[in-house]
Amino acid sequence: MEFLLSILTGLLFAAGVYLLLHRDFAKLVMGIVIIGNATAIFIFVAGRIVRKSAPFLDEQGVAPDTFADPVPQALILTALVIGFGIQAFALLLFKKVYDIPDIEEVDDLKK
């Protein structure tokens, strides 16, 4: 699964950067969102992947034989929520920018 996910992460990054270089606001923010997601998966893959066994202990508090690494999961979980905050902030900022007359695309910010 790491092999597949590595390729997928690369594709996500490529798509994200491509959108980031766009002149359109909406696409730009989409790029930010995709890069955020891609980063999460990047960290996840770097922490190695164990299929279908979540890091939970059984009733007696004993760990199963194999289970996914909880550390990157904990890292990503908070990162995702923070990423959400940042994305929302960016979106609102862009909305505010649009309230200014004469601004229709990213390039107009130069004015």
Binding site: V81, G85, A88, F89, L92, K95
Partner: protein, 137 residues
Amino acid sequence: MKSFILIISARVIVPVMLIFSVFLLFRGHNLPGGGFIGGLTAGAAFVLHAFAFGMESTFKALRIRPVKIIAIGLLLSFLSGVIGLVTGEGLFKGYWLDWDVSFLPKLGSPFLFDVGVYVLVMGIVMVIIFPNIQEDS
């Protein structure tokens, strides 16, 4: 933009979502769930409420401004850290109560922290999304 279907379904879904979010929070210590997930769910429930009934009624139902909710959440989390300080173990050192309630997780400072996260994330979802709805109604 009030839709009849939305209102009827929201009446059922919002309370269910809220209860489910609390359920997620409670079981978070042992099974998937926790403060972040629960808070997001609860926030989403209020957002749905606002969609269906309009912002005004949501604020009326909340009785408290979302920014204050964030503050309360942060305060709760911080207090959970102070508990350790009071018992002399050090900031954020875990402290558990002795008694167990079957449907509750093990009560203690980490749980309080999780509750704080829950409240905070709920408030954040509202603060972030509400201004976008506001201008429509």
